[in-house]
């Protein structure tokens, strides 16, 4: 793995440069150990594809999504106002993020509050880089012919109608893409949305991620590809509680692409 420095907006501006895209990392991507690996994978891909990018670092703050979905509109709008002030201050035009919740709220709910940017989910951005030939995959990468299923994040799929970008990324890996019984617009939630990630599940007879894991196991896929740090956590836990961690691997599509390019001899 090549090492490189991820620049912050502040550093870029200090050098008189302005990057093409802002990589919005999100809270999970910044603080959660598992999700940090996804963040690094996205950064590696951007670096590999020679994309001029920067992050906000300590200047980034929660978009307010979990607060808003839990009913706290005040807190959400305060967060939005603060973030929009920072983003507009740097003159940001284009944002790429690894979190579908950040993606959805910045794309659909920030414009009315004064923050209009071109916002892309990392699966969309990676799919574009692949189609532009900016990503070179190793000839002997480990995903060829692998049976892979994609778990649609609600706020990328149903919420914004993006089903194809992540699938095209998996197909670029020459993998065998298999669909779950419930997929695309009928995809089943992992159980983390709507602020559920931050609370105990309500009383029931089953956990939602276990229910979704059953859908995964039905496909006998070797890898569940995800595009959301929360889905990733939920599916990892689901596979673990089904005692299938040895046979089913949960990976973000960015991690898959990053490991498929990282073995390319420079």
């Amino acid at each position: 793995m090549n090492t490189f420095k991820v620049p912050t907006m502040a550093e870029m501006i200090a050098e008189g440069k302005s990057p093409e895209v802002l990589f919005w990392v999100g809270c999970a991507g910044s603080f959660d150990d598992r999700a940090k690996r996804i963040t690094k994978a996205i950064a590696q891909i951007l670096h590999h594809a020679n994309v001029s990018f920067a992050v906000l670092g300590a200047e980034e703050s929660c978009t307010g999504d979990p607060a808003k979905r839990a009913g706290n509109e005040f807190l959400f709008q305060m967060q939005a106002a603060t973030n929009i002030a920072v983003l507009n201050g740097y003159g940001i035009k284009k944002i790429v993020t690894g979190c579908p919740h950040c993606f959805n709220i910045m794309k659909n709910e920030y414009p009315e509050l004064g923050g209009a940017y071109e916002v892309m989910h990392h699966s969309q951005f990676i799919a574009t880089l692949i189609s532009e030939g900016k990503i070179t995959l190793a000839d002997d990468h480990p995903f060829k012919g692998k049976r892979i299923t994609f778990h649609d994040p609600c706020y990328l799929g149903r919420g914004n109608g993006e089903y194809e970008a992540p699938r095209s990324v998996i197909e670029a890996l020459d993998a065998e893409l298999v669909e779950m019984r419930r997929c695309k617009s009928k995809g089943l939630c992992c159980g983390a949305g709507g602020a559920q990630m931050f609370k105990e599940a309500e009383k029931g007879n089953k956990e939602i991620n276990d229910q979704r894991t059953e859908d995964v196991l039905e496909t006998s896929a070797a890898i569940v590809a995800t595009g959301c740090p929360f889905c990733n956590t939920m599916m990892t836990d689901g596979v673990k509680s089904a005692e299938k961690s040895d046979t089913v691997n949960v990976q973000d599509i960015a991690e898959m692409i990053a490991s498929a390019v990282s073995i390319v001899p420079e």
């Binding site: 149903r158 009928k186 559920q196 029931g204 007879n205």
Partner: protein, 435 residues
């Protein structure tokens, strides 16, 4: 009878219309072309019904049958009013084709309704057996299906006895119509005398028209109201992506004030401006039926209780208390109750100690929602139970500060360190060091 029917129907429609208008305002007057297209696709074209092919195709049979057989209703009503018999029979061969089409559709409706009854009562599909479907809702569904079967049977029998009367050259019975389905009913009635045939034919005619008029009155009291409301309801569909949750304008005003360094919090408010927009609602979110916006109330009256929302809800399918269908049914029942309360108290609501959130819908239900929008996607007429759920959470949090402790912690963390977890904001960029 026709007059009484129309009077009762109109009175109920006026009641529901007033109830819808009790809701808060929401401006849906934009994007007219797109709205017409949505209505054409979703309501007229039934595009979302076929996501479940069996129910979808059977429903299309009943829908087409209902719409097209109504042309025959026109003739039946005109005959009744003018004392004519088969007034359109002068259309000749066109009339024969029409009657044949009506008969085939009537048979399709009959078969579909029988299958629907079997699905509900014999096979007992899970989505028709949720707790909220006990008692009246199940009865309502069965009444509608049985009435439709009776109506179609009466229509076909009317034709069968008419055909016999025609063959017997009974006075008044013009030779008209072709009867591809009812010909099979002829043996049932062929034993009757000439007078008996006429009585039977008249009897079925009356049964059909009386049934239809009673049904007209019944429809707006029942879940069957969707046959009318589906059209305006889809016209006023939410046209935004389903992931989008509205920004509350009343909150924006306050946040703008807080963020504006020149704002003077102690300034005297400007004098009321008559042209100004109406004041922001006094409370945040939805607590009672009248806190819903008028579109949400319309949705509650449009709901057919089909349960597609509940059957795809991740919370419902894992045994949680939440059922999106129940959210819609409770909203309708509460708004109806508020409407009757107003009517009984000279148009002014008298406090009955109840609220939609609390007396009908519990916090546990609301907190089970993952906001995954599966219910919104599944609804054949674009109802959003999720919208009501999230608006109720707004009331819980912003009016009553009621949230599970972990959610309160999440709010505090975001407020204090800009992340839902308790990590220092300054360490947000730490992952960079090891990249």
């Amino acid at each position: 009878m026709l007059g009484t029917g129309i009077f009762l129907f109109s009175r109920r429609i006026a009641f529901v219309r007033r109830n819808i208008n009790m809701g808060r305002d929401i401006d849906l007057s934009d994007r007219k072309a797109e709205r017409w297209k949505t209505m054409a696709r979703v309501a007229i074209g039934q595009s979302k019904m076929v996501a479940r092919p069996v129910a979808g195709i059977l429903h299309i049979c009943v829908y087409l049958g209902f719409v097209i057989i109504n042309i025959e209703m026109l003739e039946i009503v005109l005959d009744g009013l003018l004392g004519t018999h088969r007034i359109f029979s002068s259309l000749g061969s066109v009339y024969n084709v029409l009657i044949a089409i009506f008969e085939i559709l009537a048979f399709a409706v009959l078969v579909a309704c029988v299958i629907f009854l079997i699905r509900r009562n014999v096979i007992a599909l899970a989505r028709f057996k949720s707790p909220e479907m006990g008692g009246w809702p199940s009865m309502d569904a069965n009444i509608i299906l049985v009435v439709e079967i009776v109506l179609m049977f009466a229509f076909l029998s009317m034709n069968a006895t008419d055909a016999i009367a025609q063959s017997l050259d009974v006075d008044h019975y013009v030779k008209a119509g072709s009867f591809p389905i009812s010909q099979f009913l002829v043996p049932m009635y062929s034993g009757l005398s000439e007078a008996g045939i006429v009585i039977a034919e008249r009897g079925f005619w009356w049964l059909h028209i009386a049934g239809v008029i009673s049904f007209l009155v019944y429809v707006p009291y029942s879940k069957h109201f969707h046959i009318l409301l589906a059209f305006p309801n889809t016209y006023y569909s939410n046209l935004n992506k389903s992931g989008t949750l509205n920004n509350m304008a009343s909150v924006k005003k306050e946040v703008d004030l807080m963020m504006d360094p020149t704002a003077d919090p102690y300034a005297t408010p400007p004098p009321p401006d008559n042209n100004a927009e109406p004041e922001a609602p006094l409370s945040f979110g939805v607590k009672d039926g009248t806190d819903l916006n008028w579109k949400q109330i319309m949705e509650s009256y449009s709901c057919t209780e089909c349960g597609r929302c509940t059957s795809v809800c991740p919370a419902s399918m894992t045994g949680k208390l939440l059922s999106p269908r129940k959210i819609m049914m409770d909203s309708r029942d509460r708004v109806d109750e508020i409407g009757h309360n107003r009517d009984a108290n000279d148009g002014v609501f008298k406090d009955d100690g109840k609220t939609l959130l609390g007396s009908y819908i519990t916090e546990e239900e609301l907190w089970a929602c993952t906001s995954c929008q599966a219910c919104v996607d599944a609804c054949p007429i674009n109802i959003s139970p999720m919208g009501i759920i999230l608006d109720m959470r707004r009331s819980l949090i912003m009016e009553d500060s009621k949230s599970p402790e972990t959610i309160t912690n999440m709010f505090n963390n975001i407020e204090n360190n800009g992340a839902p977890w308790a990590f220092p904001a300054a360490s947000r960029g730490d992952w960079i060091k090891d990249a």
